[in-house]
């Protein structure tokens, strides 16, 4: 049986991952999120779909003082964390971040600092277990800062670098760390954005790849896979040209 901790469980990708894991065998879950009522709806759904046990813990990611307590509570309820999926985040409004430094700092903190604060006790727990898998959802946006959303990109770059460091550190304890970089996914977070429809994946497609990637202990996972090449090209564009593009 898989004992799974999901942080940011009400996000569309995380919820789809939970179902995907459940479809592959018996699972026990601890779901962590901000909205209690929505966590409960998710809990009911996973229970009806056959989860052995589903516990919910409410946590506002901004409340860093509770991070250690929540991780300890979750690991106690599960007994052992076989898989931890960390999927928090918001999509900041780049324009507002440019106008108002406090918004920029706030958004950076939500997407980077707070996640790092949470990952620290979680990584320590896994290191102590000397087993388990950690999957962290970052973004392709972290691969290069682009004019259209570089604040989000900067936060995800910080998260990617942090996770990559964890990966190297925890490998010595037998803990697998997977850095996940989704491209455009049809979720509430991207609602209202004019995205190219052909490039947009569904949360279910992305979830299938994440669950498989975690199982295979992949270190870095672009999802859908073609984003690896799109981002490779974007990273290779020389600055002289890059600064003229509206990406």
């Amino acid at each position: 049986m898989n004992r799974i901790l999901i942080i940011g469980a009400t996000s569309a990708i995380a919820a789809a991952c939970a179902r995907e894991w459940l479809g592959r065998g018996p699972c026990r879950f601890v779901l962590v999120g901000r909205n209690e009522e929505r966590l409960q709806q998710l809990q009911q759904d996973l229970q009806a779909r056959g989860a052995e046990q589903v516990d919910c813990l409410t946590l506002d990611l901004g409340d860093t003082s509770r991070h250690g307590i929540v991780i300890a509570e979750a690991s106690q309820r599960l007994g052992q964390i076989d898989i931890a999926l960390v999927a928090p985040g918001t999509l900041p409004d780049q324009n507002r971040c440019q106008q108002d430094a406090s918004v920029a700092v706030q958004e950076f903190s939500t997407n980077a600092t707070a996640v790092i604060s949470l990952l620290t006790p979680l990584a320590n727990q896994l290191e102590q277990q000397r087993c388990g898998s950690l999957a962290v959802i970052s973004s392709v946006a972290g691969d290069r800062g682009r004019a259209s959303n570089y604040l989000y990109g900067a936060a995800k770059a910080a998260l990617s670098a942090f996770t990559s460091g964890l990966m190297a550190r925890l490998a010595k304890s037998g803990v697998a760390v997977t850095l996940i970089k989704p491209g455009f996914v049809r979720t509430p977070m991207t609602a209202g954005l004019p995205l190219p429809e052909k490039l947009v994946a569904t949360p279910e497609q992305v979830a299938r790849q994440i669950v498989e990637g975690v199982q295979r202990r992949r270190t870095c996972l672009y999802t859908p896979g073609f984003w690896r090449y799109i981002m490779l090209i974007i990273r290779l564009i020389p600055d002289v040209i890059f600064r003229r593009l509206s990406l």
Binding site: A12, R38, Q41, L42, Q44, D45, A48, R49, G50, P188
Partner: protein
Amino acid sequence: MSESRQSWGRYPAIHQSSESLQWRDELPARLAQWQPGLPFGRGRSYGDVCLAHNQRLLDMSSLNRVIAFDRHQGRIRAEAGISLYDLLTVMVPAGWFLPVVPGTGHATLGGAIANDVHGKNHHRNGTFGCHIERLALWREGQLLECSASDNPALFQATIGGLGLTGYILWAEIRLQAVSTSQIDAITHRFHNLDDFFDLADQYDSSHEYGVAWLDCLASGKDRGRGVYFAGQHARYAEPSRWRPLPLGMPLTPPLSLVNPLSLRAFNYLYWHTKPARPTLARGPYQPYFFPLDSISHWNRMYGPRGFQQYQCVIPSAHEREAIASLLDAIAEARQGSFLAVLKRCGDVPSPGLLSFPMAGTSLALDFPSPQRLQPLFERLDAIVRDAGGRLYPAKDAHMQADDFRHFYPRWQDVEQWRDQHIQSLFWQRVTQ
């Protein structure tokens, strides 16, 4: 992100955009801000019942959570956007099955209620709406729970109400017990229409499920030949896991692949590859109930212009002559279809006001080139009208307003219960 939407037949091709609802509690805010004209599931109805008058749809398909599943009593309560396929995946391992399953598992729970769909067991179990215990409907600013005893008039108007009475948020279904996930199916080839009616009589009394495919292009001595598929839930079976082949139409070809030549070849092969003698086989339920679902986006085969389905039901008293006349008219027009489906319907009444089936026989066909079908459809409509039959709104893109009002005399009751902010292109076409 608002997305562009079409109905399954991609005709009429009227641009619609949708926004998605993720959580039940978001509904009031989303209605105020997006001002949609119609709830939308997964767009599996063929014509314009799923298209909004203001071209703004509220996509309910992310509301796909199970709320409660009573494994002992056989009840499941789930959000309206869940697909029937998904519901079955949840319930079948626990020994339960949906009491009514339409021809696609991709339809949503809300859509199945709104169109009061029927399946291959209509002669036993009636329509989908017959098995709804309770539902929650958001209309005109309030959330109402409806059942046979609470808000009964609204409950009736919502079953088969084409999504017009409000936004169904969740519904509870009474399930039927099964011992296995397998179906024992008999494939029985027949040579003419009379044989079909005899087989339907014979199998309806012995089998839960029955449907027939008909070669509508065969003429002369082969006219009316087809294959009958009778089935029932297997009492015993080895555990098995069904894996669909990854088939699909990745893109829309510039021209329809469905033309007289390909149709004739398909129909010929289909009939001739079926065993000459009735054959019993046991298999998973998915290919039996959802044969076309194994090819995702099969509707793209008809090219960018789409297609129309024609589905009617003829009452028992006139079924033999009327179905024969319909087939003759279609053969004469040389506008046949891959799948002409014949199905015997029973007399189980639905609680709904606009329920399609009636005791008799239903015929359904897909036609390419939807723009050129008017003369043929006028002929077919006349036959249906004279035989006292009716057409199916969920499949329709052509029904005349007069016919609709004649086929569905209780439409005015539904109009009275219609949420003032909701209006579909279909409803506008047939009632105004």
